[in-house]
C-alpha cells in the first residue's frame, strides 16, 4: 500500500522528517566534536587547557589552566626567581584585583601572613623563605566564582606576568 492509499489519520510529514534526519546527522557530528573537545580539555582539565606563562628560568612564571569552570577547583603554580621583599623581609606577590575578586582561594601553600586589598591589586605577604636568595614558589588551589574571560596579572617587584583565563558558567 502506498503512502497515498494509507487510511491512517496521522500527523506524518515525510518532508519534515527527512529534514529532521539531516539535522540530526549534523547535530550528531557537532555533539561528537563537542565531546572530543571536552576530552581534550576545551572545558578544563586536559591538554588544551594546561598552560604555562613564562619559562622556568624567567623572573616569574605560572602554570595555570586556560579553561576553568565556576565552582570547580583548579591548581595554579607560581614561581618567582627573586621575589619582592617588604621592609620586614616578607615575600610579596601582587595579583590584579579584578582577578582576585573573581576567584575563591580554597588553599594556598605556603599560607600568606596577610592579604592587603588595594583598589587595583591584592598584595599577598608571605613569611621569608629559609633560602632567602632562592626562588619562591606558591601553589594556589582556587575556584572561579564568576564566569567570563579574566585578564590576570601577577607581579613581584619588577617582574610581572600576564595571561588570560576563560571561566565557563
Amino acid at each position: 500500500m502506498s503512502e497515498g492509499q494509507r487510511i491512517l489519520e496521522l500527523d506524518e510529514n515525510l518532508e519534515f522528517q527527512r529534514r529532521e534526519w539531516q539535522v540530526q546527522r549534523i547535530a550528531g557530528g557537532v555533539l561528537t566534536v563537542f565531546v572530543a573537545a571536552a576530552g581534550l580539555g576545551l572545558f578544563g582539565s586536559g591538554p588544551l587547557s594546561h598552560a604555562q606563562a613564562g619559562t622556568a628560568s624567567a623572573p616569574i612564571w605560572v602554570q595555570y589552566e586556560r579553561f576553568v569552570r565556576t565552582g570547580t577547583s583548579f591548581r595554579m603554580r607560581v614561581q618567582c626567581q627573586s621575589p619582592e621583599r617588604s621592609p620586614h623581609n616578607e615575600a610579596l606577590l601582587r595579583i590584579s584585583r579584578a582577578y582576585f575578586d573573581s576567584i575563591r582561594i580554597d588553599r594556598l601553600t605556603p599560607e600568606p601572613i596577610s592579604i592587603d586589598l588595594e583598589p587595583d591589586v591584592a598584595i599577598l605577604r608571605f613569611a621569608a623563605p629559609l633560602d632567602e636568595a632562592g626562588p619562591a614558589s606558591y601553589v594556589f588551589d582556587v575556584s572561579p566564582v564568576r564566569a567570563g574571560i579574566q585578564s590576570v596579572e601577577l607581579r613581584s617587584g619588577s617582574a610581572s606576568i600576564h595571561f588570560v583565563q576563560l571561566a565557563y558558567f
Partner: protein, 148 residues
C-alpha cells in the same frame, strides 16, 4: 537570577539533546537506557542546584521548569507548525505487514521492537497481522492490528 538561568539553560539543552538523538532515546527500552536516564537526572540536578540546596532555591527551580513547560504548551497552541520542531512527529514504520526498512534504520527501530510492541499490546504473533506500526513522538511504538 542564577537559578532561573541555570534551569532554563539546562531545560533548553536537554530538549535539544533529546531531539538530536531521535525519538527512541525517549523510550525507556532496556536497562542501559534506564541507567542512562538515571545518570542524566543526577547530573542535571547537580548542575541546576549547584551548592544551593535551600528550600527557596528548589521552589525557584521547580517554578521555572513548570513555567517553561507551560510556555512550550502555549507556543505549540499558538503556532501548531512548531509542534513537529519541538517534539518531532509520528512516523509509520510498518505498513500493511511490510516493514519500511529505511525509516526503521534511521530511527534505530528494529523488527524485534515492533513485534514486542505487537505482542504486549495486542497479543499478535506475526508481522503480517500488523496493519500499521507507528513510531510515536514519545518514542513508543503503537500498533494497529489488521481486521480479522
Amino acid at each position: 537570577m542564577d537559578s532561573v538561568l541555570r534551569t532554563a539553560s539546562m531545560y533548553g539543552f536537554l530538549v535539544m539533546i533529546f531531539r538530536i538523538t531521535g525519538k527512541r532515546s525517549l523510550a525507556q527500552i532496556t536497562a542501559f537506557d534506564f541507567i542512562l536516564l538515571l545518570i542524566i537526572g543526577e547530573a542535571t540536578q547537580q548542575a541546576i542546584l549547584g551548592n544551593d540546596f535551600s528550600f527557596t532555591n528548589a521552589c525557584v527551580v521547580i517554578a521555572t521548569l513548570m513555567l517553561l513547560e507551560l510556555g512550550f504548551s502555549l507556543v505549540k497552541g499558538w503556532w501548531p507548525s512548531l509542534d513537529p520542531v519541538l517534539e518531532s512527529a509520528p512516523l509509520v514504520v510498518v505498513d500493511n505487514g511490510r516493514p519500511l526498512e529505511d525509516r526503521m534504520v534511521r530511527e534505530r527501530v528494529d523488527l524485534a521492537d515492533v513485534l514486542a510492541a505487537a505482542r504486549e499490546r495486542h497479543g499478535l504473533e506475526r508481522l503480517d497481522q500488523i496493519k500499521y506500526a507507528v513510531l510515536e513522538k514519545s518514542g513508543g511504538i503503537s500498533i494497529v492490528p489488521k481486521e480479522r
